[in-house]
C-alpha cells in the first residue's frame, strides 16, 4: 500500500490512516509533526480501489468501526480519533 514517510524522532512503528478531507485527520497529522516523530501515513480516500479495500481491512482490524483517523503504534496500541492528550502521552 502506498505510504508517505515522514522522518523524525524514532518512537516505534507509527502508522496513521487518514482521509485527505477530514479536519481531525489534519489535526492529528499536525500534532505528529509538532511532536517530531517518525511516522508513515496514507490518505485512504486517495488510494486506488484495490489498495483502498486493503487499507480499509487493515483499519478495521485495529478499529472495527473503520473510522478515521486511526493511529497505530507498533501494531498494538491503537488511538482512534484526534485524542490529543492520549497521542502526546503515547509519543512523548
Amino acid at each position: 500500500m502506498q505510504m508517505e514517510h515522514v522522518k523524525g524522532r524514532r518512537r516505534g512503528e507509527i502508522i496513521l490512516y487518514a482521509l485527505s478531507t477530514c479536519g481531525w485527520c489534519a489535526k492529528t497529522k499536525n500534532l505528529l509533526g509538532e511532536l517530531g516523530v517518525e511516522y508513515s501515513y496514507t490518505y485512504v480516500d486517495r488510494l486506488s480501489p484495490a489498495e483502498m479495500e486493503d487499507a480499509i481491512r487493515e483499519v478495521e482490524k485495529y478499529n472495527p468501526s473503520g473510522s478515521f483517523p486511526t493511529l497505530v503504534i507498533d501494531g498494538s496500541r491503537v488511538i482512534v480519533g484526534f485524542r490529543e492528550a492520549e497521542i502526546r502521552e503515547a509519543l512523548k
Binding site: 482521509l19 477530514c22 479536519g23 481531525w24 480499509i56 473503520g66 473510522s67 482512534v80 480519533g81
Partner: protein, 169 residues
C-alpha cells in the same frame, strides 16, 4: 488540506451557504474559520468525486444509496450535537463550543461499521419497528413538532431553547 482543483470562490460560496442555512435553522458552526473552510472544501471535493456531498470525515463508498446517512448534514449530526456538543466532524457545534468557552470534543463514530450496515440493510424489518419508538417533541413556544430522539438544541422555527420542548407523543 487543499481544494483539489476546486476554485476558492466555489468553496467560499459554499461556506456562506452552509453558514446561512445553519443560522436559519438554529444551528451554529465551529468558531475556527480555517477549520470550517477546510471541512467545506472536503465536502466540495467529495461532491466532485462521488456526485454527492459526503461527510468529509468519513470514507464514502461512491454509492449514494449506501451513503444516504452521511450526506452532509448527516443523520447523526443532531444526536451528536445533543450528546457531545458537536457533530462528528465538529463543523456544527453547540452554543458553548461556538462561543469558545468549551473545546470541540472528540466525538466517537456513531455510524455502524461496514459489516453492521450490511446486516442492517439485509433485515429492513428492524427499521420498521424502530419507527414506533421515536418520540415526538413539541415546542411550547411555537408549536413546532418533530419526531426524533431528542428535541433540537434550538427550535428551527422560533429559536426557543431545547428546554422549551415537551414530549408530545
Amino acid at each position: 488540506m487543499t481544494g483539489e482543483g476546486i476554485p476558492d470562490e466555489i468553496i467560499d460560496a459554499r461556506v456562506e451557504k452552509i453558514r446561512k442555512d445553519a443560522e436559519d435553522g438554529g444551528y451554529l458552526l465551529n468558531p475556527d474559520p480555517d477549520f470550517v473552510r477546510a471541512l467545506v472544501a472536503g465536502i466540495c471535493i467529495n461532491e466532485q468525486r462521488y456526485g454527492y456531498a459526503a461527510c468529509p470525515c468519513r470514507l464514502a463508498s461512491g454509492n449514494r444509496e449506501e451513503d444516504l446517512d452521511i450526506i452532509c448534514p448527516c443523520d447523526y449530526r443532531d444526536s451528536d450535537l445533543n450528546d457531545y456538543g458537536a457533530c462528528y466532524c465538529a463543523l456544527y457545534v453547540s452554543a458553548g463550543v461556538a462561543a469558545g468557552t468549551i473545546k470541540a470534543p472528540c466525538v466517537p463514530e456513531r455510524r455502524p461499521g461496514r459489516q453492521e450496515r450490511k446486516k442492517m440493510s439485509e433485515n429492513n424489518s428492524a427499521n420498521v419497528s424502530r419507527k414506533e419508538l421515536i418520540p415526538v417533541w413539541r415546542c411550547r413556544v411555537c408549536g413546532y413538532l418533530c419526531a426524533r430522539e431528542n428535541p433540537p438544541l434550538i427550535c428551527p422555527i422560533c429559536k426557543a431553547s431545547q428546554d422549551r420542548f415537551v414530549r408530545f407523543m
